[in-house]
Amino acid sequence: MLRDAAIRVGGMVRLNTVLLVREPGPLISRLVMPLVLMVMLRPLYAAALPGPATATAAVSTPGLTGTGQAVTGMAVMFSLLALSMVGSGILTERMWHTWDRLRGSATSAAEILVAKAVPALGFLAAQQVVVFGVGVVALGLDVRNAGLLALAVGMWVAMLLGVGMALGTLSRSHAEMAAAQDVGGLVLTGLGGALVPLAVLPHWVRSVAPVSPGYWGVRAMTSALAGDAGQVGRSVAVLGAVAVLAMGVAVWRIRRGWSRSKLL
């Protein structure tokens, strides 16, 4: 039983990896663009951020530097690729009708989602290692606790994968999904403080920022850089809850099935 499940998941992971690799453009751009932007924007962030003496925990992680903001901000922003990788992957399969072939097999909904997530997870792990690695080696990023950082990044990515799965199963067309990604990207990066540090955003934005999972992603990573285990713990708990909720929605949607009257 377990052996069969492993074979099924392995087969789906293999094919999903093939499909990703056959279209490498998005992967390459998402690997290169954060490196370029974090180098370009680092001076801007350094000038914009309040000094350690004036920063408050409510606005920004104490001690966060321009380099820290540039690296974590770009890591968060470009890891949104997970949304499109998983979401579009599911939606494309629904359009190709191969999704129904998977559902019509002995495979469970959870197995299908795991197999969709694994290749994306692999790529994202590589992307985050490259972004933070370049940050440390080339930009002098100070990482106080690498373990906490790995935990923060891992939970952020898990949350993104979950939301991507939910979007892929709930969207009725690529246009609908693109709209959801646009809005989601704005909420996750803009409102979360990845693109522009929260410290320089209007007060009302700072007030509503915690509704964005992006806020907790940035906070988890910047707190990990500062070695603040308590703050990382609180942030990853929120991210974990969102991830579980989103994955639950995706599993429920797959089990419920689709009628033939939808747009796809």
Partner: protein, 323 residues
């Protein structure tokens, strides 16, 4: 045509047994008490006009759609009992859906490898099975090409091959030859015959009725979400009238004119043809001959599946063998 096979209801334990399936989409009753049993080694041609419920039936059996009521048993497993039972039942089914469902940017081998893995096949066993099915459906030459670069007929074969992998005990083939070239059709029919000969139960929906003759299939006629007729081809065609064409030397006698369609015969001087539709063409002809008319020719055409299909448009067929 092969010898008439027994239908699922008459033979031993059916591989597929569905009873009382009901499925409603809003105000539309897609399935309304759909019953069908298919025995091992039996090919059942599922006939019906668009909207008769054929595809919904396939979707229910393959686990894509949950019915509002009814039961589905596959090799004795109650597929609707639980999610686990459903997966166990689906592992016994090879499905070729009506719509093309293949990974276009992956090669034929990569596609088939995925579907083999879904059956729990891995390693050399999977590769051997893939090569065998690819040979059987004439895909060996293109096995490493992306499916997106193949012709429509080749893609159809890839889809069918994915259903045949692992020789499942139940095959659901939903219009598998739509748009297929003759070569593809023959290859697929041969593969289906081979699977049935090896003991698989096959449900084959199609609008190409000669395929069902070729497969020696029993028939299940669906209409309005129900199976309204079930039996062998001979049984279902027996009650349909034959077409008797009698060509007279001269006009059709007045006393016979009201009994059928009258037409003049092309290329003759005054000869006419009387066409009768009757379940007893021999007696009808004997009666005409006994009246002493001079006949130029006689042609009897027994009912075909096309006639059965046409009859569906009008009334419920006279024979009702639904389980």
């Amino acid at each position: 045509m092969h010898d008439p096979p027994a239908t699922g209801g008459e033979q031993g334990a059916a591989v597929l047994s569905v009873n009382g399936l009901r499925k409603r989409y809003g105000s539309v009753k897609a399935l309304d008490g759909f019953d069908l049993a298919v025995a091992p080694g039996e090919v059942t041609g599922l006939l019906g006009h668009n909207g008769a419920g054929k595809t919904t039936f396939v979707e229910v059996v393959s686990g894509l759609v949950r019915p509002d009521a009814g039961t589905v048993r596959i090799s004795g497993i109650d597929a609707l009992q639980s999610a686990r039972a459903g997966r166990a039942a689906r592992s016994l089914v090879g499905v070729a859906p009506q719509q093309q469902a293949v990974y276009l940017s992956a090669s034929v081998r990569e596609n088939l490898r995925l579907y083999a893995s879904l059956l729990g096949l891995a390693g050399r066993a999977a590769l051997r099975e893939i090569d065998a099915v690819a040979d059987e459906l004439m895909l060996a030459d293109v096995i490493d090409r992306p499916v997106g670069l193949l012709s429509g007929g080749q893609r159809r074969r890839v889809q069918a091959a994915s259903a045949l992998l692992g020789s499942p005990p139940l095959l659901l083939l939903d219009e598998p030859t739509v748009g297929a070239d003759p070569q593809t059709r023959q290859a697929l029919l041969a593969a289906v015959r081979a699977r049935a000969a090896a003991g698989a139960a096959v449900v084959y929906t199609t609008h190409y009725l000669p395929e069902l003759v070729d497969l020696g299939a029993t028939l299940a006629v669906a209409r309005d979400g129900q199976v309204v007729a079930r039996g062998t081809q001979a049984e279902l065609l027996a009650d349909l009238p034959a077409r008797l064409e009698v060509t007279f030397a001269g006009p059709v006698p007045a006393e016979l004119v009201g009994r059928g369609e009258v037409a003049s015969r092309d290329g003759t001087e005054g000869d006419a043809v009387l066409t009768l539709r009757t379940a007893h063409p021999t007696s009808a002809l004997a009666e005409i001959v006994s009246r002493g008319y001079v006949l130029r020719g006689v042609d009897v055409r027994h009912a075909t599946l096309d006639d059965l299909f046409a009859a569906l448009r009008q009334t419920r067929p006279g024979v009702d063998h639904a389980a």
